[in-house]
Every structure is written in structure tokens, then in C-alpha cells.
Amino acid sequence: MRAPSPTDIAAGEVILAVENVSLAFGGVKALTDVSFDIKKGEVRAIIGPNGAGKTSMLNCINGFYHPTEGRITFRGKTRPKMRPYEAAAGGIARTFQNVALFKGMSTLDNIMAGRTLKMNKGFFWQVLRHGPAMAEEIEHRHFVEEIIDFLEIQHIRKVPVGKLPYGLQKRVELGRALAMQPEVLLLDEPMAGMNLEEKEDMCRFILDVSNQYGTTIALIEHDMGVVMDLSDRVVVLEYGRKIADGTPDEVKRDQAVIDAYLGVPH
């Protein structure tokens, strides 16, 4: 369904590398000297106690925050300051901790908004609407409808997203990110606030995305069961520093991680 986008990175090679990244807001050090990499096609979990800097890390990858030190290399290109628009155009999509949907629009419109980068009929055609612009809308509507089928949200297509329950909003947000056909999908606590059934659904969707489309996924999550089951590799942050990096089993047994979560004073 999705044509494999031409990319010079083969599955299993590093697609995103974070090197010695530090981020400070005035006196607050959000991240200190963090380095890790993400391989193409894998599911990489970023975990850690609250305030560890996980969301800040995603924001740096997105280009929303600019690291004060260090650099991020994506698909072989290192950008000193990546603008969010460039990240999106380069193939990075994300969801947010606090659902950042466009509350004034319907589900369908929100997901169609995700296709904006792929739509290029100019202003003149948009003013006329009938003709090439309409053809483009229909073409992308096909694609969006497939995503809607995949996420099983057909029944809320035309509902304004502000009216949806929280769990469905998160699903719509995932759909919007998928609409961008990203190389790398950043998910910030996609299962926060969900009950068991919703969590299982979301896990299934994430696994399907990874298996069917080969999308690389970076995932922030607090539920340890989900992390251990879903992810290929895990990186653990605490107080802005990396304290462990490896497979879920390795990380589970790491003493520093256990201490961080149990709160051993140090």
C-alpha cells in the first residue's frame, strides 16, 4: 500500500544518532551529555522517572528545542539547528504527551492535515477547488481512509476531536502522525491514561506499524510491561543523564536502573 520510500539507510543500520547532547534552560539542565542511537526498523524505548528529560529529548530530535551542546544526526546528515519544518519534511513525525490535536477540526480533517506536506497543488488550484485540487484531495483521502480503517476509527470520522474521549483522541493523533508516512515515529506516552483494553489496542497498532510499514519507532512509556514487550532496545534516562542502554532484559537487570526506579538515595 505504501511504496517504499527511497532511502539510503538499510534496515538495521543507524538512522538517528544522538551525540553528547546537552540542553539547558537558563539554570535548569534538562539533558546532560546524552548519547544513543536508533537503528532503522527497530522499536526503541526511552524510559526513566518523571523529569528525566525524555520529552525534552524528543523535542530536540524534532527540532523544537535546540541542544546547547552536542549534535543529532538523522539519515547521515547532521544539522546544528534543525527547524521543526525540516524535521517533518525529513520524515520525523510524533505524538505528544498532552494530546496536541486541532480541536476545532474533525478527525478526518486532522488526519488530512497530516498529509499537507505531500499535497502540492498551489494556491490557484485551491481557489478553484474543482479540477486538479479536488483530484489531489481524493487521492489523499484514499490514503487517509486506509489509516482510518487501520486504526478502526471509522465511526468518528466527522466528529470534532474536542468531543472525543481521551483514548480515541490519542488514536487520532497516532493516525495524524502516520499520515505523514514517517521514517521515524516519535511517540510520547501514547498509552497514558488508558485502560487495559485500550492499551492492548494501542500496542497492537504500534506493532503493526512497525511490522507492516517498517517504521522506526522511538517510544516514551511508563508502563514497564509495554516497554519490555514492545521494544527491541531501551535507553534509560535519569535527571537528564543516560544511565543504561541495551535490550529490555539487560536493562531490567541493570542495578542503576533499579535504583533509579526504587529511589535509592545517592
Binding site: 534552560f25 523535542n59 523544537f64 547532521t78 498532552n98 496536541a100
Partner: protein, 372 residues
């Protein structure tokens, strides 16, 4: 990219470089302009001279004129700060930008004059201080009534609505009060009862280097009264229990309700206080010129003041008011003739706009760090 590129840290951080540029830039400009003028490369008919050199030369050579202009600007600035204060009060305490503040100024002043006329004209009370004081109490009463009415009819039903809705409600209120005021008091300009209120009139000449300046006693009184008002309100907000409750309400209606703060009471207090400020403002502005509905447009000038000083800062209102007031007067007097005059109508906004481009949160606003 290879690994470990050792880059020597630059000797100065980007911020330091920027600061040095800000100081060195204008200094260099002044030096260059002086050299060009002295050598005769640019003369009085060149536009560079007219814009960048001539006004400053005029300022320097006629210092008394400069001091006069600065004084006028100062007084105007203080009065702008007063108007801005009314906005700040309501915004600080209820999170609402009260577009009707301007018309409240006019309304308060008109009520005062109206009461006085009734007392002196209809009831035959002798004109003078006593009558003015009674009229003052009457006007305050009207502002209290207005505060209660606004709280009941406008604020209570709209609690928790988004900001744009509250803003539009106050615009609607301003339209309503304008129509009502014109109907009740007539549309003609009125004269403020300055002497009856005990405000000084007349002016003095003061000797300054270069000549003399003319200072209106009323202006001095206005500045003093405004300062007292601003300072007392500042203390009120910081030190008293009610002030704390006001700040709580400004942060979050829901949270304030949940700790037992009575929103209704707070709002009545705030709008009444803003009404007092509006009355004082109306008296001062009205005494300097006349009281007409054109004052409402002057109230719009408070917006650049607020932009500079921040919407919730009382000292910011003062600083913003002074910058706008002095900047406007200087601009109109020294650069205005170059453009055909009348630039006071828009100069304040352009000044604010230029500031905003460098500091989008205004001078006193908090730097907006968006969290997602």
C-alpha cells in the same frame, strides 16, 4: 562528519557579542554622522541630515524647548500609565482584557459632571468644594453600580469561556456604554469641574538652561496624584489578603473557586477599583482638555503601553506609559514636521511594534517558554 571535532570555544558567547554590538553600533553611527557633517559631506538639505542629524542638533541648541517637550511627554506618559493601570487591574485579577476601560473613563467623568450640575443647577447647592465632593461620591456610586451590573450580567454567565469571548464581551460592553452615555449625557463635550474639585490651575514659568519652560500646575498635580494612586495600588496588590486573592483569580478561576475565594466578590472589587482609576483618569484628562467621547480613542493608546509594560505589571504600566508618552512627544515635535505632522495618531503603535519585534513578550512580560 568525522568524530570528535575539537572546536575551541569562542572567547565571547553570542549573547555578549550581541550586547557589545548594541552599544557599539549607535556609538559608531554617531561618530560617522558627526564626521560627515563636520566635513560638509552631508548638509541641511540631505534627507540623511534631516532625519538623523537635524533633530538632535535642534534638541541640543534649544535645550529649554527640549525640556518642555520632555515635561509634556512625562505628563502624558503618566496619564497613559493611569489608563493602562485600569486595564492591568482587571486583567491581573480576572484575566479579562477590558476593552470598555476607555469608555468607563468617559462615563465616570460624565457622571461626575452630571451629578455636579444636578446639585448646583437643580438643587441650588452653592458651587464649590462641598458640592464637588458630594458629586464625587455620587460618581463613585455609579461606578460601583456599574461594577455590580457588569459582574452580574456579563462576567458571571461567561465564566470559563475562552479569552476571545470575554474580550468581545467587553467590546460589546463598550459599545453599549457609548450609546447609553451619549443618550444619558448628550454628545456634546463637557467641561471638567476642575476648580471646584480643588485642583490647582494656572501655570508657572521656570528658568532652565537655555531659556524658560511653562509648567501647568494641573500637570504637576496630575503627576503627583497618579503616582500616589499607582503606588498605593501596587502595595494593595502585594501586601493585602484581598490582593493575594485577586492574583489567585487571575491565575485560575477554577483553582481560586476550589480554595473558597468568592469570584463574584473579587470581580466586583476589581471592577470597582478599575472604576475608581477610571474616574481619576477622567478627571485628570478632562481637566487638561475637555470631556468628550473622543477620549475613548485615547484609551486605545493604552494598548501600546500595555504591550511594552506587560499586561499584568503595575510598574510595567508606569515604565510603558513613560516610554510611550515621551517617545510620542519627542517624535511628533522633532520628526513630525518632516512627515507633515499629525504622526501622534500612530507613532505609539509603531514604537510598541518595534519593541515587540525584539522582545515578543514586551519589556516586562515573562518570556514565553512553550511546553508541549
Amino acid at each position: 562528519m568525522t568524530d570528535a571535532t575539537l572546536t575551541a570555544k569562542p572567547a565571547l558567547s553570542p549573547q555578549q557579542i550581541r550586547r557589545i554590538a548594541w552599544i557599539a553600533g549607535p556609538v559608531l553611527l554617531v561618530i560617522v554622522l558627526t564626521l560627515l557633517t563636520r566635513s560638509g559631506a552631508i548638509g541641511p538639505s540631505d534627507w540623511t541630515y534631516k532625519i538623523l542629524v537635524d533633530p538632535f542638533v535642534t534638541m541640543w541648541s534649544l535645550p529649554d524647548l527640549l525640556i518642555q517637550t520632555l515635561w509634556e511627554g512625562f505628563v502624558a506618559g503618566v496619564l497613559y500609565a493611569l489608563i493602562a493601570l485600569g486595564f492591568v487591574l482587571i486583567f491581573k485579577a480576572s484575566g479579562v482584557f477590558n476593552f470598555a476601560q476607555g469608555i468607563m473613563v468617559v462615563f465616570a467623568a460624565l457622571s461626575l459632571i452630571g451629578f455636579y450640575e444636578i446639585l448646583v443647577g437643580r438643587l441650588g447647592i452653592p458651587a464649590g468644594y462641598a458640592a464637588a465632593m458630594v458629586a464625587l461620591i455620587g460618581a463613585l456610586g455609579i461606578m460601583l453600580l456599574l461594577a455590580v451590573a457588569v459582574e452580574r450580567i456579563v462576567l458571571r454567565p461567561l465564566v470559563n469561556q475562552p479569552d476571545i469571548i470575554m474580550l468581545m464581551a467587553t467590546v460589546g460592553l463598550s459599545f453599549f456604554l457609548t450609546g447609553f452615555g451619549e443618550l444619558a449625557f448628550g454628545g456634546n463635550p463637557k467641561v471638567m469641574i476642575t476648580s471646584a474639585l480643588g485642583l490647582p490651575t494656572g501655570s508657572s514659568s521656570i528658568d532652565v538652561p537655555g531659556g524658560r519652560i511653562n509648567v501647568q500646575h494641573l500637570d504637576v498635580a496630575a503627576a503627583v496624584i497618579a503616582t500616589i494612586l499607582i503606588v498605593s495600588l501596587g502595595i494593595f496588590f502585594q501586601k493585602t489578603r484581598i490582593g493575594r486573592a485577586l492574583r489567585a483569580v487571575a491565575d485560575s478561576h477554577k483553582a481560586a473557586l476550589s480554595v473558597g475565594i468568592s469570584l463574584n466578590q473579587i470581580w466586583i472589587i476589581v471592577w470597582f477599583t478599575a472604576g475608581i482609576v477610571a474616574l481619576v483618569t477622567g478627571i485628570m484628562w478632562g481637566a487638561r482638555s475637555e470631556v468628550s467621547f473622543a477620549l475613548e480613542v485615547i484609551a486605545l493608546k493604552a494598548l501600546p503601553v500595555l504591550v511594552l509594560g506587560g499586561f499584568t505589571s503595575i510598574p510595567g504600566a508606569i515604565v510603558g506609559g513613560l516610554i510611550i508618552g515621551i517617545g510620542e512627544k519627542l517624535g511628533e515635535f522633532y520628526w513630525g514636521p518632516l512627515m507633515g505632522g499629525g504622526i501622534e495618531t500612530w507613532l505609539a503603535y509603531i514604537i510598541a511594534l518595534v519593541f515587540l519585534l525584539f522582545r515578543p513578550q514586551g519589556l516586562f512580560g515573562e518570556k514565553i517558554i512553550e511546553r508541549i
